[in-house]
Amino acid sequence: MANSVNSDPATAIIAERGVIAQFARRKLALFGLFLVFLTLGAAIFAPWLTTFDPNEQMFDGLTLQGAPMPPGGPFALGTDLLGRDLLTRILYGARTSLIIGVAANGLALFIGTVVGVTAGYFRGWVGSVLMRLTDLMMAFPALLLAICLAAIFQPSLWIVALVIAIVYWVQTARVLFAETASLAEREFIAAERTLGASHTRILLKHILPHLVPTIIVWGTLGISTTVLLEATLSFLGVGVQPPTPSWGNIIFENQTYFQAAPWLVFFPGLAIVTLALAFNLVGDALREILDPTQRGRD
């Protein structure tokens, strides 16, 4: 038993605390997980869930006056200003959001982990420089920075992911810095050092595995934040560019018409809130289960 804990502390931490069993007892968390799978299903099975093409501008998709069709009839959620089926665009838009949630958030998590762990473990001038850099990033008006960056690079899906990662890595870095710094002072790390273990070995074998729960929690919550950022950038027209459907740019394209056709704002908006809520619920439950400082609270 002691040996198995030694070989893989991350798995051990998760097994020991009965994370899955605890998670299964939380109704809200399970509801969040259900919403996650719902969105995932929409993204993967989009071509089979709808008979329309997301970019097809249909002649019968507009009324005789040229206005978008309201929900109901052949177009379940109505059509947009160009006569495209809204449901189809929302289903395909789930792909955009999830790609951002995985790519942007993954990259942010990676940068944040590298910076946070390096600064927390080595301290000294390397640590100070890195942490002053995070102070600097915290002082930036996040959205203005993202808009400027998006304007410098011509925005494509991957560029938007990169921009979001550049803006968002700081949070993770700060949390992991604090945790690494306190871990690095613990006796078992000092013992390893006395035994002559290299920095790489200590970092990979002893520090990083203990950070896994925190990384999981921040990784999950970060999906919500990055999805919201993408939606906001796309809403302003500097994020994912049409015709690629994204929930934010659907609202951007149809905004001028929203008084007459509120469904063009309501349904994509609902999709954004659903996905962000889903990952927030799951992430929050994971934090309560995995974070030892949260124990005994509710």
Binding site: I147, T232, G248, F258, Q259, G269, I272, N280
Partner: protein, 306 residues
């Protein structure tokens, strides 16, 4: 404490210097040429070159930055390329609107967030508590523009209670403040709830109860003032969050603040304005964080000794 204050102040100035440097470099790299924007489509290459020289944009990056910094020290943010006005004048004319919105937003956030948090804490574990916490979750999961547009649709377009965007009267302030209030209250209500639960657990509350004090008096006189202390520091952080997202809410509601100024400037590549608004926002964020630190030190003497 004075030493701590000075050190933090110096740090903040360095941070702002860093922000100005990074923003300057980023804007220098913008692919759009501001001189072409100023000169217009029909300008000859000679005119374009003349304007470039006039503005000093033909100089190397570090020379331009040094010159900018020189102005900055004297409170000069440069001149707008297109509006032919001092950037500081433009920002000064827009700042009151943004500050008014900030006050409205923080008021709405506190009103909604604190009452939700207090009720949830007092009804802890009940259906009321759970529903309130679900609402607060939805609050932190919704983007500003969705909530803003929905509020506009329901209360301005359908019910006609408030104007559809714009600025001037109290009625104009309600919907944008509510948008930010609904979203921001999510954090406040969760913090207020846990802080209140923590305080209600303390011995002095039990003593008060044992003395047979009236329940309302215990809650409002003994528990609330203590539970609210950690929340006050949060307001400082909130100023930063507000400044970070101001572009969206101002563009949804057509609110003539610095967010809208920046947004228009970005579309027209009016670099001095973008630069100025970024610096003003960053300053507000830094001041907000400083305030948060000092307020926590003042209200909680335990932090002072650290």
């Amino acid at each position: 404490m004075a030493g701590f204050f000075l050190r933090r102040l110096a740090q903040s100035l360095l941070i702002l210097l860093g922000v100005s440097m990074i923003t300057f470099v980023l804007l220098y790299w913008l692919p759009a040429d501001p001189v072409r924007q100023i000169a217009g489509r029909s300008a000859t290459p000679q005119t374009v070159e003349n304007i470039r020289q006039q503005l000093g944009l033909d100089q190397p990056l570090w020379v331009q930055y040094w010159r900018y910094l020189g102005g900055l020290v004297q409170g000069d943010l440069g001149r707008s390329y297109l509006q032919k006005t001092e950037v500081s004048t433009l920002i000064a004319s827009r700042l009151p609107a943004s500050l008014l919105l900030m006050a409205g937003a923080i008021f709405a956030e506190l009103l909604i967030g604190l009452s939700m948090g207090i009720i949830a804490a007092l009804r802890r574990g009940t259906v009321t508590d759970q529903s309130l916490m679900i609402v607060s979750f939805i609050g932190v999961s919704a983007p500003q523009f969705v909530v803003g547009l929905l509020l506009l649709y329901v209360f301005a377009v359908q019910l006609g209670w408030f104007p559809i965007g714009g600025y001037g009267t109290f009625a104009h302030l309600v919907l944008p403040s509510m948008t930010l209030g609904i979203l921001g209250s999510g954090w406040y209500s969760r913090m207020m709830r846990s802080s209140m639960i923590e305080v209600l657990r303390q011995d002095y509350i039990r003593t008060a109860r044992a003395k047979g004090l009236n329940r309302m008096r215990i809650i409002f006189r003994h528990a609330l003032p203590n539970a609210i202390l950690p929340i006050i520091a949060m307001i400082g952080i909130d100023i930063g969050i507000f400044m970070g997202g101001i572009v969206v809410v101002e563009s949804v509601f057509g609110w003539p603040g610095i967010g809208q100024l920046a947004w228009q400037a970005i579309q027209r590549v009016d670099i001095p304005i973008i630069m100025g608004v970024t610096l003003v926002s960053a300053t507000a964020i830094v001041i907000g964080n400083l305030l948060a630190d000092f307020i926590s030190m003042i209200v909680d003497p335990r932090i002072r000794t650290r």
